[in-house]
């Protein structure tokens, strides 16, 4: 039942590296991560790869497979032709640590810069009342498994290290949208923060992030565009601009 495949695996560290070719047996139903594990157990015992759940739930085994950002545990081997060469490389937007493992600390740094949920001060635990329809929008974004594939594919930073300072990336735009749409969050200027402090304006809506999201979150349509529209509304509508100067009512 097993088929033979050629795997080209990038091996190296932050200083140097190269592709190594291996021939591997592949059994029915296997995914790329199974094959990498077999290579580890039989041919390269020190091959570095991150993984945890092997069920598409933890977002650890992100890598590039034939140049596409993917979860190795959710990439079926039957999506390739027998005899085809499968090329496996580390995520390009982040510095390599070793082999297929990259330094994703950029994302944790950005997470630290998003102000946390702030509930109404007088609302006691147990007293929260929210309608299902009102939490659903934020729930979509909370499906995020932090695989960082969207960050990796986003061309604002993929080949532009210099943009990382001022750009938080799609993962954190949906985090900001999630909090912005949370029925009980009291911080009212999240969209403006996204625009001014997190580089929302640098996104030019090519939807690459949405395409690679393994959770099928509509990052661009449901988070980025609605935030951009509201920011633009308030920034460029002279009446609303004046209003915001006169009354410090609800921010954006």
């Amino acid at each position: 039942m097993s088929k033979k495949f050629n795997f080209r695996i990038w091996r190296g560290d932050s200083k140097s590296g190269d592709f190594k070719d291996v021939q591997v047996e592949v059994n029915e139903g296997e995914v790329v991560l199974d094959v990498i594990h077999r290579v580890q157990a039989t041919q390269m015992s020190d091959l570095a790869v991150r993984w945890n759940c092997k069920a598409g739930k933890c977002g650890s085994c992100s890598m590039e497979i034939n140049g596409k950002p993917r979860l190795a545990c959710m990439t079926r081997m039957n999506s390739f032709e027998e005899g085809e060469t499968v090329t496996v490389t580390p995520l390009r937007a982040f510095p390599v640590i070793r082999d297929l493992v990259t330094d994703v600390s950029y994302n944790y740094k950005k997470a630290m810069e998003v102000p946390a949920f702030e509930p109404p001060a007088d609302l006691q635990p147990g007293e929260y009342r929210m309608a299902q329809v009102d939490v659903e929008r934020s729930q979509e974004f909370r499906k995020c498994i932090e695989c960082f594939l969207c960050q990796n594919t986003c061309h604002v930073i993929r080949d532009h290290e210099e943009n990382k300072e001022s750009f938080s990336g799609p993962r954190f735009f949906i985090r900001m949208a999630e909090l912005d749409m949370h029925p009980l969050d009291t911080i009212k200027n999240r969209k403006q923060m996204a625009q001014e402090e997190h580089g929302l304006g640098m996104c030019n809506i090519t939807k690459c992030c949405t395409e690679v999201c393994p959770e099928h979150i509509k990052i661009t349509d449901n988070a980025i565009i609605p935030m951009k529209e509201r920011v633009v509304d308030v920034k460029y509508d002279p009446l609303r601009w004046l209003g915001s100067k006169i009354r410090k009512k609800e921010g954006i």
């Binding site: 015992s45 945890n52 069920a55 739930k57 493992v101 944790y108 630290m112 946390a116 949920f117 949370h182």
Partner: protein, 628 residues
Amino acid sequence: MSQAMERYSYDVVVIGAGGAGLRAAVEARQAGLSVAIICKSLFGKAHTVMAEGGAAAAMGNVNDNDGWKVHFRDTMRGGKFLNNWRMAELHAKESPDRIWELESWGALFDRTKEGKISQRNFGGHEYPRLAHVGDRTGLELIRTMQQRIVALQQKDKKEFGDAEKFIKVFSELTITEILKEGDRVSGAYGYWRESGDEVLFESSAVVLATGGVGKSFKITSNSWEGTGDGHALALKAGSALVDMEFVQFHPTGMVWPPSVRGILVTESVRGDGGVLTNSEGRRFMFDYIPEVFKDKYADNEAEADRWYKDQNNNRRPPELLPRDEVARAINSEVKAGRGSPHGGVFLDVSSRLPAEEIKRRLPSMWHQFKELADVDITEEPMEVGPTCHYVMGGVKVDPDTAAAVGVEGLFAAGEVAGGMHGSNRLGGNSLSDLLVFGRRAGAGAAAYVKSLAQKPKVSDGEISRAKNRLNAPFSGTGGENPYTLHQELQNLTQDLVGIIRTESELTDAIVKLDSIRDRSTRVRADGGRAFNPGFHLALDLENMLLVSESIAKSALARKESRGGHTRDDYPKMDSEWRQYNHLSRWNGSKVEVAPEEALMLPKELLELFELDELKKYFTQGELAKGGM
């Protein structure tokens, strides 16, 4: 040979960054202490993320007959009364507060029509009790806790100018040793996975929150992290493990294709109406309702189906029996030749709910089967079979403070702790367990640290002992491959210490484990120290071996069947055996298992049950005394 050693000092070191560890860290920080959070993988990836169905808490949002007493009763029944009653009591009483607290930290659970947290049905729970978010509740829990840690760090940054002044997360770091001065904890020792460099933590209190042991078995729903690290650390530090024979095989894991074998299929599928059938199309669970549960479960399909609409006037469908019962039933059906093509049984929700409803309630199941098995669960049944899911046994702790017995300054919470679930855990009781006892462990550790007049010291002898062990996989001359040994261990436990056990197989297992352990002293890691999975596995292997030995020896000692321990040669539950727990200790060269008298319930908790029910579990002599 060994690298320059980093040195840190914290009030509390929490090993494990799943639900329990993070909740413990929050509590210790709120008590004003500094906390190191150690995660073996990246922050937010811990196994908690895989929990699907929900967190059990008697909030009474869907059925207001629910309350802590009902939840307590269900938990004790599920555990066949071997649970530590005090843990079960604390858990039932405190779970609602722990869930509500999550909301105030940003969690967004599914809602009822009144806007409260929705609660779903689950095996063994009398009323709808599981707070949930579709079938990805664990993700919501871990993300909320992760974001709570970040929120506390943000506050510290604002107030003190340093986000890591009180809480620092050490990602991809593995602890290999608990350090002690006399009987007291003085620190922990480990290595960065990324570089292989060694790290020393000086700390008077260590909270173990390392989760489970599933990776000792071949077919498991656990991730690679479930290597029993905390269980082994506690054993070697001089503490004891309780009731390690009880291992939960979740009845519904995927069975096909082979590469996904063991991946969990949430119990919510059954809670939301899914039924189990064999190759003859029969709903076989009606044939497996045990005597102790006969008055609580429907004996015909019509009543079982009515229950989904009207729970007050009908008995529950037998698909929702506790997990141990369902797993054994599936095992029997397959053995009797009535299994599905790939050695499981059928679980069907497609004929029970409209396609859109299935996708809304069970989105990740739909996704998982579609992408990994080419099965559309809205159109056809799934094939499922038992998978190693959870260990009920674990570190013996004081229920109120989560302090581990035998070692001052050591605490344990979550799956690594034992006692709470008795011989079998109910679905949904794990997520609430993490929160309730994670908080208690954090508070227990904080109180202990504050009570100390002097901080125990780390001696050079302790450091060199830890160093030697860490370096062994590179200095050994033998050529044993860690991957091969791991595979042999997994096959052995699966075949000989698995869901159905016998004396001869367990005896055989203990001999074979000994031989694998002997070979493991000659295990060798190829390559360098930087992010080397072979090196990591070589070190994890010892933990899995210790845990497996503890399970096999405890299982051999218990001559009855109860919960997550089924003996083919002693197939009945025996009230005499309820009076004993098994304690595993490490004597320096092997695990020793000895019985210890189990606690009797106090009178006021015993009175929550009908006498007729108690008679099924307790001896006449025990009942005559009328409780503790």
